[in-house]
Amino acid sequence: MALFARAPIAPLEYSRTLWMRLWVGAVMVFLYAPLVVLMIFSFNDSKRNVVWRGFTTKYYEKALGNDQLVEALLNSLTIAALATVASLLLGAVAAVMLWRFRFPLKGAVDGTISLPIIVPEICLGVAFLMFFAAVGWPTDPVWPFNLGAITIAHITFCFPFVTMVVRSRLATFNREQEEAAKDLGASEWQVFRDVLIPHIKPALVAGALLSFTLSLDDFVITYFTSGPDTITFPVKVYSMVRFSVTPEVNAASTLLIILTVILTFVALKAQGVKAIAETH
């Protein structure tokens, strides 16, 4: 017993009581067990995913040798990068607009900007499908222009998140800094670049990360906006899962999980866990 009870458990130390620990442990197992099993079985030397038959990396070779899969992954990363840059610009200026100015119909504008967060993905996907069909958007121009439709759709649902994050950061901005800069002769643009941008930088990092993951993650909206020849990673994985479950999917998924973990840790280095948690 001495091993466990270093100090008596204080009333508020809920997380030190046994049943709480069991509960949290069980939830963590619930959240991680499927992912861990998936990663382990990506090294399984068997066509079917059920019995362990020895270690192999041949499915990684297969996945990386699968041109369609690699192309889909490249498409996804390109779209995510483009959508992130555009969402940062649009989201940040929208946040500045809502924070700084008083203007007619402000409530309506504010509500409309956050609407893409609330509207179900499926409805947004349907809307883009109809929109691009109605305007006669070209379906197969050369790369990377064939990704245009998907990128536009992604920007629309990513930038409101950037606005949200940047806005909450702007709320802590001390306007006297801005006035001081102006008194010292800074122009509007210089104030923006040298005072405001440094202040909202953590929010920009968080927003960029959020946009990138949201874009990389999206299946439903992409499924409706992708043309016959433009596949993204989730769409490709979807068709692979739908028609045949192979260890190749495990290998590709493992690579993406590792990418996610790396991105998360980069974000942690830049931000600290607490700041990231506050953005959600």
Binding site: P11, Y14, S15, M20, W23, V24, V27, M28, L31, Y32, P34, L35, V37, L38, N49, V50, L90, V93, A94, M97, W99, R100, F101, R102, F103, V109, I118, P120, E121, I122, C123, V126, F128, L129, M130, F131, I152, T156, T163, R175, E188, T213, D217, F219, V237, Y238, V241, V245, V249, N250, S253, T260, T264, L268, G272, V273, K274, I276, A277, H280
Partner: protein, 301 residues
């Protein structure tokens, strides 16, 4: 400090407002308007759609078949939200009251799955739940164990274990949705609990209330805004879920999003799909309206 009137600095206002406003109008409001218009149209031939102002699509959506699907989607989403709340609340409590050293790691543990690709998570769960998967093997082992104990005490052994169908049914859809949406619930709950004044809990405990009573009468009412936020953040995406029922559900576990998808990808009935989409959006608005009404009512007691 007060906000600036837009007229005092038109140049800057135009620079910060026009890009976003144009984008929202062009690539959000116009697409949504097209869906809305099409929902009053009818199919004329294979690709031609005539917007005739008909209400037939909405009338069709009130047919029994579609009403049951709407009802079922609500029921599934509500059940998923409830399970997430029950499972997530103690986790949020544990994170809130964890030591400084542990808290960031617990938070990270909840957030990492949240950032992992949804499709990959669904696929991973499918692998585990399949008839040959580990979940079934675990249950089988439990079954064998019970059987063995029964023979030990001199009872008849249980019949041999048959793998249960854990995938492609309603159970799988609920299980999958809980798996996917749990982090959505825990994070707002944690945010609300973290802001709580701990001396109130201590006071309640000092005055003789038990832990359970303190949680029900002090913590829950004070964290109500966070609970409502968590419920909304879980309920709304769960109601519009497409991927989980599509991949993990059976033929009878279609949710509303699957029916909408079918109108576009298979049945080729765009006007009807558009009408269903807008009904789903109206449902979301109704939920949000109910929530904001609740907020305006002053708390009694």
């Amino acid at each position: 400090m007060a906000e600036q009137d837009w007229k005092t600095n038109r140049g800057v206002f135009a620079a910060v407002s026009l890009p976003t406003l144009l984008w929202v109008i062009l690539f959000f409001l116009i697409p949504m308007a097209i869906v809305w218009l099409y929902s009053f149209g009818e199919n004329k031939g294979l690709t031609e759609i005539d917007i005739s102002g008909t209400l037939d699509n909405y009338k069709r959506a009130t047919e029994w078949l579609y009403l049951t699907i709407f009802g079922k989607s609500f029921a599934v989403a509500a059940l998923v939200t409830l399970i997430c709340l029950i499972v997530g609340f103690p986790v949020a409590m544990a994170i809130t009251f964890a030591s400084e050293k542990w808290r960031p790691w617990l938070l990270l543990g909840i957030m990492l799955p949240f950032w992992t690709n949804l499709l990959i998570r669904t696929y991973a769960l499918m692998m585990l739940l399949g008839t040959q998967g580990f979940a079934n093997k675990g249950l089988g082992a439990l079954w064998e164990g019970t059987s063995w104990i029964k023979t030990l005490v001199g009872l008849q052994p249980l019949p041999t274990w048959e793998p249960v169908q854990l995938l492609f049914n309603n159970f799988a859809v609920v299980f999958g949705l809980v798996y996917v949406h749990l982090p959505f619930m825990v994070l707002p709950l944690y945010a609300a609990l973290d802001r709580l004044d701990r001396s109130l809990i201590e006071a309640s405990l000092d005055l003789g209330a038990g832990h359970f009573r303190t949680i029900m009468r002090i913590v829950v009412p004070l964290a109500a805004p966070g609970i409502v936020a968590g419920v909304m953040i879980t309920l709304i995406p769960a109601l519009g879920a497409y991927l989980t029922p599509d991949l993990m559900g059976g033929t009878d576990s279609q949710m509303i999003a699957n029916v909408i998808e079918r109108q576009f990808k298979k049945a080729n009935d765009w006007p009807f799909g558009a009408a269903l989409s807008f009904l789903l959006i109206y449902a979301m608005f109704a939920l949000i309206a109910i929530q904001s009404m609740r907020r305006k009512v002053p708390a009694v007691g």
